[in-house]
């Protein structure tokens, strides 16, 4: 069984197929602008990616378990908005219920969990297509932001919800610490706990997982709820960064979320991929965006450059990973 050792190393590397891409981007960035490699810019990149990275974390877990969630992007705006509206007076766009400001964060997370629970319930109990359920939920949940706010931006927010997304701890934005911590927890959970491993089993072959005694429904439900909570937290961090909740917060993120996860090696067919890989995917996307902004590529042509880079990253991840993608 000596053959084991090199195998492990290879498998480890497979998570990191994007590392060369990241290095390349760092070099390109350094040549693009002297500012690029400064601590300030790197910290900016990390902060800018912090909220979306939580969505990637959530989506990676959901994809690994063989499901799909498009509605995460709507939760980003709606969960904190709901909580805020419960707290702020009617004049500031709220319901005037006067819920204390300190409860806003727990309430937002709860709202996220509730959205995830609805998704999970519909998909698991009714055995509906996850893609379409969460597509409908994407529309509905965004409607739950548009409806009560009537499209207005919520500007007057309780201090508590601003704090996390705008403060700095030990020189780095708090949101970066939070995202980092959650990624570490996610990686450990998926790599080293029974619950985490059962996601892979379910995504790989749900019937076999059931036969092996895994409570498939319960685990999947848990994954959707966790996903909703992470999306709500992403919304909280983003709210702090932007200082307001616009009716478009989070809208359009989901494609980038999928791109990051898949480039990072997570399979759309379930059962494959790692949290660490997904993280490298987020970093690639963040670096590309930053370099494009620094270079000042014309807005009209930016999509072409951007899409092209995604394709190249995808190819590198394919070649380095060595396996066909699904």
């Amino acid at each position: 069984m000596t053959a084991g050792a090199p195998k492990v190393r290879l498998a480890r590397f497979r998570d990191l197929t994007l590392v060369p891409v990241i290095l390349l981007l760092l070099v390109v960035g350094a040549f693009t602008d002297p500012v690029f490699l400064t601590g300030g810019n790197i910290s900016n990149i990390l902060q800018q990616q912090a909220s979306i990275s939580l969505l990637v974390l959530a989506e990676a877990m959901i994809l690994i378990s063989g499901k799909f969630d498009l509605s995460l992007e709507s939760t980003v705006g709606t969960a904190p908005a709901m909580a805020v509206m419960l707290a702020v007076p009617a004049a500031a766009g709220g319901f005037g219920l006067g819920v204390p400001g300190a409860l806003v964060i727990p309430l937002a997370i709860l709202a996220g969990a509730a959205i995830g629970a609805v998704n999970g319930f519909l998909i698991i109990r009714f055995q509906l297509s996850a893609f379409i359920v969460t597509l409908a939920m994407l529309i509905i949940v965004h409607g739950l932001l548009l409806g009560p706010t009537e499209g207005k931006t919520l500007f007057q927010l309780p201090e508590s919800i601003i704090y996390l997304g705008s403060t700095t701890w030990a020189g780095l934005p708090a949101s970066v610490w939070i995202a980092g911590l959650l990624f570490a927890i996610g990686a450990l959970t998926l790599g080293y706990t029974r619950a985490g491993r059962s996601l892979y089993a379910i995504g790989g072959n749900a019937d076999a997982a059931r036969a092996a005694g895994i409570r498939v429904h319960r685990v999947l439900f848990g994954v959707f709820v966790t996903g909703g909570m992470l999306a709500a937290l992403a919304g909280i961090l983003e709210t702090g960064r932007l200082g307001a909740i616009g009716s478009n917060m989070g809208v359009g993120w989901i494609f980038m979320v999928f791109a990051a996860a898949v480039i990072g090696g997570v399979s759309m067919d379930g059962g494959k991929g790692t949290i660490l890989g997904a993280l490298t995917g987020v970093l690639v996307i963040g670096l590309v965006q930053n370099i494009l902004t620094l270079r000042g590529v014309s807005g009209f042509w930016q999509p072409v450059v951007y899409g092209g880079i995604i394709l190249v990253a995808l190819m590198i991840s394919r070649v380095a990973g060595g396996k066909a993608q699904d």
Binding site: L242, G246, N248, W253
Partner: protein
């Protein structure tokens, strides 16, 4: 196949069909509210308003439905000024007059265009920033979506004005797709790269205001106008929060896009069209001018630049919103 547009001539029978362009921005939200209010005030009979969710293809479908329901006049705000041509042609054939709000269709007959000039917004913002900066330095323009006519008009006018009047100013244009998140990231990165940026023009206060202030705050650049660290910020829209920010000295000016007047005169002209009235180019009774277009008339409503000096003017719509 559906009923013909005879209503326009007869007047009394027709109702006004209104299509709202989108439901997800502060400005249009106010406009939608005003439209209801003004319809009551001006006693205009209207059909259930439709909403085309920023999609011209939906607008076309909605207009067809409104025609089917017997609309005698249509108020619309096509966010794509070209792709509405065929529909305007059909409406003309059916003799249904059209009032276009906010945008000027490229082709096809319109009874009246009700708008403030988006190019003028860009120019006003440029002139304000140019003077404040003394014709030199760096400014950032947070653009809307490049696919949108208004975003493009503001952007082009701003750039042209800067080029011709203030060649000493460097402009960075950031396409934000009307997204606060993109705006924050791009502004943050640009400030990292050029800490000496001294001016910002935001295309949409609703989405850009809070993120811009937040970025300036974390960079420690939110200083009073007298402070040399101050970054001059001009916004666009005229929502109450911008006025608040002007009063606090956080931003310096905004172009007030008159949501109330848009709604009032859209319905006013639609009603007039139903009643068979006509208009001629020239000054109006409400501080504006009607100009002649190849395909109709345009009432160019005033879009004042609001600064600390006139921010408390009660006539500004942003001061009337509760």
């Amino acid at each position: 196949s559906t009923n013909s547009g005879g209503a326009a001539a007869g007047g009394a029978g027709g109702k006004v069909g209104i299509d709202h362009p989108r439901a997800d921005s502060d400005f249009w939200n106010s406009y939608i509210k005003y439209a209801d209010q003004m319809a009551t005030e001006l006693k205009v009979g209207k059909l259930n308003p439709t909403n085309s969710q920023n999609d011209v293809s939906k607008l076309v479908s909605n207009v067809q439905t409104l025609i089917g329901q017997g609309a005698g006049a249509i108020v619309m705000a096509p966010q794509d000024t070209g792709a509405i041509a065929t529909t305007l042609q059909q409406l003309e054939n059916k003799k249904i007059p059209v009032v276009s709000v906010d945008t000027r269709p490229d082709k096809g007959k319109v009874f009246m265009v009700v708008r403030a000039d988006n190019r003028a917004y860009g120019t006003k913002a440029c002139e304000f920033l140019g003077e404040k900066l003394g014709g030199k330095g760096k400014v950032v323009q947070l653009q809307g979506a490049l696919g949108s006519i208004n975003g493009r008009d503001r952007s082009e006018a701003f750039l042209e004005c800067m080029k011709s009047k203030f060649p000493g100013i460097t402009v960075f244009s950031e396409p934000t797709e009307w997204e606060g998140s993109k705006a924050a990231s791009m502004l943050q990165t640009r400030l990292e790269q050029n800490p000496d940026i001294k001016g910002v023009y935001m295309h949409a206060g609703g989405v850009h205001l809070a993120p811009t202030l937040q970025v300036l705050k974390t960079k420690g650049l939110l200083a009073p106008p007298a402070d040399p660290k101050h970054v001059f910020v001009v916004s666009n829209d005229g929502i109450p929060q911008e006025f608040e920010a002007i009063r606090k000295g956080d931003i310096d000016a905004t172009v007030s896009q008159p949501a109330d007047l848009y709604a009032r005169y859209a319905l006013f002209y639609a009603k007039a069209a139903l009643e068979g009235k006509t208009f001629k180019p020239g000054p109006t009774d409400h501080d504006s001018t009607i100009i002649e277009l190849p395909n109709g008339l345009e009432d160019q409503l005033p879009a004042p630049l609001v600064t600390k000096d006139n921010v408390d003017d009660q006539k500004l719509w942003g001061n009337q919103v509760k």
